[in-house]
């Protein structure tokens, strides 16, 4: 297979990764956007949509407060979509189940993202020290360049995380696909049911709302009744 799809995915990883902390923060970095964007660039938006939806629900409540760094859901979204599109074995394997397999394979490597992110932030620690020196020397134009070097650090961290997810995922898929591909058609409908509900549960556990259990149960009851009546 040509390396072109990986370059495209690396581009998506860079754009989404920069949006995560360094630039704009218009939420292109969220899995619900990053995964479909990668899928669209690789000509399979549907796969990206599923992966983005599952992952978004799972890590929806994780917020980077202060110096805490949550797992890199952006690179997991981009990496697992890239894996799902490029490694898809063929029509004998259902798409959604394979996408979920790729997601499960990529998720543990997302923790690595924290390492590279921390590395970038540590590297940024030298920038303000150099900025102080530039101020002492009255070289104010240098401040802009020093600040923008942080973008390079975050971009590098994104690409490294993406690389680790991709390589780790490729190795795991080489081992898992021959073993599991026969079972995927059987498991797909159950995965479609269980994975989003697990995501909802994970998200619900992070919502800080006093009557969450009752409101959630009530909303479920009403919508489920409406679906039974009109669905």
């Amino acid at each position: 297979m040509s390396g072109f799809p990986y370059f495209i995915a690396a581009f998506a990883s860079l754009v989404a990764g920069l949006d995560r902390t360094a630039f704009l923060q218009i939420m292109v970095s969220r899995p619900i956007v990053a995964a479909p964007l990668t899928g669209w660039l690789l000509d399979d938006m549907q796969t990206g949509l599923y992966i983005g939806a599952f992952l978004e629900l799972l890590w929806l409540g994780r917020i980077p407060v202060g110096a805490s760094i949550p797992p890199d859901d952006t690179q997991v979204a981009v990496g697992s979509t890239c894996l799902a599109v490029t490694q898809y074995p063929g029509s004998s394997v259902p798409v959604v189940a394979f996408s979920i397999l790729c997601l499960l394979v990529a998720l543990p490597f997302g923790r690595v993202g924290g390492f590279f992110d921390r590395l970038a932030r540590r590297a940024n620690g030298t920038l303000w020290v150099r900025a102080e020196r530039a101020v002492e020397e009255e070289r104010y134009d240098r401040l802009t360049w020093l600040h923008l070097q942080g973008v390079l650090h975050f971009g590098f961290a994104s690409l490294m995380t993406f690389g680790v997810i991709l390589l780790g995922g490729l190795v795991c898929l080489q081992i898992l696909v021959p073993v599991l591909s026969g079972d995927l058609p059987l498991v797909q409908p159950w995965l479609r049911l269980a994975v989003p509900l697990a995501g909802v549960a994970a998200c619900l556990s992070t919502v800080n709302f006093r009557h969450a259990v009752w409101v959630y149960s009530g909303a479920f009851l009403i919508v489920y009744c409406l679906l039974l009546l009109f669905g």
Binding site: M27, G125, G150, V200, A202, S217, A219
Partner: protein, 256 residues
């Protein structure tokens, strides 16, 4: 909005746009300090000259950290206060004191509202559409989040610049904490709706009676409770999928 005699509208817009890169050099030591200085630099270069500029730059490289959206009212107000200071006007509070007094509450309020409430709400609505295979979910999410977030960024900057200290009253009048609490109830409603839709659609695919749908709420609440008690969501997901896998194989063996 009219620029002051010192800062033109062009410079103010330049500062506001630079704030989009506020976190580019985020670091563990002083967090957004260099980002803050980078943002206000066009204004500083107009307001201060020579040794005074050097002193102000040095002072503004001290610790600063806030929410990237609600940092803009602080940036706007600080710039106005620096302007007033340079004109020799008496300030009720030093600019540094104002910055540090505002940064914490704005961070708490912004993180809770934008990242803890608005983003999950917009995302959950988009997830519902995405699970149905609708590509517009991406657009919906970006619009639902960014229209208020970008609006408040720039509006906050101009309000800060116009009102200096009094921007606190403006921020209070937005009542973001109350709004966050109300929106969180809406988020829970959307999560209930997603669960019902997933259960209804999914049970059809696994050829089980829709009556099984009523078991979804206790199962979701139980898993949610486990996650809240400290079980990692990753472990929970892998465990759940493994259980499904094993369960289906056992069912097949029993049938054979």
């Amino acid at each position: 909005m009219k620029g002051s005699e010192n800062l033109s509208k062009k410079i103010l817009w330049c500062v506001a746009l630079r704030a989009l890169l506020l976190q580019a050099s985020w670091n563990f030591g002083r967090m957004q300090n260099l980002g803050f200085l980078f943002t206000v630099m066009p204004g500083f270069r107009r307001i201060f000259k020579g040794r005074q500029l050097q002193r102000e730059c040095r002072r503004n490289l001290s610790y600063f950290n806030s929410n990237p959206v609600l940092a803009l009212p602080i940036i706007g107000a600080s710039l106005r206060l620096e302007e007033q200071k340079s004109r020799g006007e008496d300030l009720i509070m030093g600019v540094e004191d104002f910055k540090s007094a505002m940064a914490g509450p704005c961070a708490a309020m912004g993180d809770s509202f934008f990242w803890g409430t608005l983003r999950p709400l917009a995302a959950s609505a988009a997830v519902w559409l995405a699970l149905a295979g609708n590509g517009w979910s991406v657009v919906l999410f970006l619009l639902l989040y960014n229209v208020p977030a970008i609006g408040l960024r720039f509006c906050g900057f101009w309000q800060g610049y116009r009102r200096d200290y009094k921007v606190v009253d403006k921020l209070q009048s937005w009542r973001l904490s109350d709004l966050a609490y109300r929106l969180r109830s809406l988020l829970v409603v959307v999560l209930g709706g997603i669960s019902a839709w997933v259960a209804f659609d999914g049970l059809g695919h696994v050829q089980l009676s829709v009556a099984w749908g009523w078991s979804v709420v206790p199962v979701v609440l139980l898993i949610g409770w486990l996650v809240r008690r400290g079980v990692s969501s990753l472990v929970m997901l892998i465990g759940l999928v493994s259980l499904l896998w094993i369960g289906l194989h056992l069912c097949n063996i029993v049938r054979l």
